[in-house]
């Protein structure tokens, strides 16, 4: 009986997440949200089967247009990361290949950590390092490869 009760409570509890969208960051808000949801699945904050807040709920919480949320969810559904069940909401479905992406993200972070240490040794302050990263990130990949 208590197991049944727990099961009911568990399925009703929606996931409460911390997202932060920056309206001045030069990147569409829906892309930022997509990245943050992806990141959450990679770090394990969101697991397979977890339910994301509904469009209205999340829009009200973040105080952004519902179209932003809808677009992010829709794009993630195209990528296969989310499953939108009509009437119930958005559910995470983390597949194996995305799991391995989490590993490559971990590896990337290790490399970045080393790079930052070296840049600091070279005498750059953190603010300069951050700006350099941002400046390079705003270029499309093609320009870099053209050189």
């Amino acid at each position: 009986m208590t197991n049944l009760l727990l099961l009911c409570i568990f399925t009703v509890i929606q996931f409460d997440m911390f997202f932060k969208l920056d309206a001045t960051a030069g990147q569409p808000l829906y892309l930022q949200l997509m990245q943050q949801i992806r990141h959450a699945t990679e770090t394990g904050a969101l697991k397979d089967g977890d339910q994301l807040p509904g469009i209205r709920t999340l829009a009200e919480k973040l105080v952004v247009s519902p179209n932003t949320i809808a677009k992010a969810y829709s794009e993630l559904e195209h990528e296969g990361l989310l499953e939108l069940r009509h009437g119930s909401g958005a559910f995470v479905c983390v597949k194996r290949r995305i799991r391995s992406m989490a590993d490559s993200v971990h590896a990337a972070r290790r490399r970045i950590r080393d790079l930052i240490e070296r840049l600091r040794d070279d005498g750059l302050i953190d603010e300069e390092i951050r700006r350099a990263f941002e400046a390079e990130l705003l270029f499309p990949v093609e320009i870099a490869s053209k050189r």
Binding site: G26, L138, F139
Partner: protein, 297 residues
């Protein structure tokens, strides 16, 4: 729902003698999204909205709101049943109490949601039996907005809704706007609060001196507008950077600052060809987009 725009105007013009408050305006405001109307004081935003609602007659041009002709009194009246509007001055009848005002407004609209009304009334902490004339400005603003937000119309038109509200009130306002939008209400609001617009608007229209200068999606602006700061070994000629998309070039000695609405990569490539020492590309906030667009005009 139909795919016709919520608001559509053709060459809408309003002249007062020699002055053109609104000039040849071709507006197209889409449904099911939040559109912000930006402009300086006196740009013609309120005049445009008043023409849409039949308060003022256009000198020339035409327009439709929800498919109804704005210049036809009867069509405009029927359209107003499906549109909620809050004026810049947040008009209310001073001699009515808060409760009487709400009852009064409710009696005219079939799209009134009593639960939304009750919730808004509770959250706003408005005293039901106090006369409007003895309410503070902030309370009056909240009441005026409540009369619109207690409804679920097809279109919501707000003229400077955040004026007179404290930061908490503004946050509540934005949250309510978002909530309405989630219910399928198309939102069209004019504002000076660029920070707020940036957060919730899907689309913006910039009006200046009666003319429409920009009609763009906010995401698109975020992706394409860039500020590029460059340092060269020696001052480069400005004409090198007259590339499409470049809006403004400022030079100070060896430094060049470029403001572009797209095509930042081409600028950077040109800079590299000119042996640039340092290049920094940064995003541009909506405030700067607005200021640059208006300054150009």
């Amino acid at each position: 729902m139909t795919s016709e725009p919520a608001i559509l105007t053709h060459g809408l013009t309003k002249s007062y003698g020699h002055d053109d408050a609104v000039r040849g305006l071709d507006l197209s405001i889409g449904r099911n999204r939040i559109t912000a109307f930006l402009g300086r004081n006196g740009a013609g935003k309120s005049t445009t909205i008043k023409m849409l609602l039949g308060l003022i007659r256009p000198t020339s041009g035409s327009g439709t709101v929800l498919g109804k002709q704005i210049t036809d009194a009867e069509q405009n009246r029927r359209m107003r049943q499906r549109v909620a509007y809050v004026a810049e001055d947040k008009s209310l009848y001073g001699y009515m109490t808060v409760e009487q005002t709400i009852n009064f407004a409710r009696s005219f609209y079939s799209d009134w949601h009593v639960d939304a009304e009750k919730k808004l009334l509770l959250d706003s902490e408005l005293p039901a039996n106090r006369k409007v004339k003895s309410l503070s400005k902030g309370m009056r603003t909240k009441l005026a907005l409540l009369l619109a937000f207690a409804r679920r119309p097809e279109l919501l038109i707000l003229d400077e809704p955040s004026e007179g509200l404290d930061p908490v009130g503004i946050e509540d306002l934005l949250r309510t706007l978002v909530s309405c939008s989630a219910d399928g209400v198309s939102v069209f609001f004019s504002s000076h609060q660029i920070a707020e617009v940036e957060r919730v608007a899907d689309h913006i229209c910039i009006l200046d001196k009666g003319c429409l200068l920009m009609d763009a999606s906010v995401d698109q602006l975020r992706q394409s507008y860039r500020r590029i700061d460059m340092v060269f070994p020696s001052p480069p000629p400005e004409r090198e950077f007259q590339i499409s998309g470049v809006k403004r070039i400022r030079t100070a000695g060896n430094q060049v600052r470029i403001f572009s609405s797209g095509n930042a990569e081409a600028v950077v490539e040109r800079a590299r060809n000119l042996r640039v020492v340092s290049v920094e590309v940064a995003p541009v906030g909506l405030r700067d987009v607005f200021l640059e667009t208006v300054r150009e005009n």
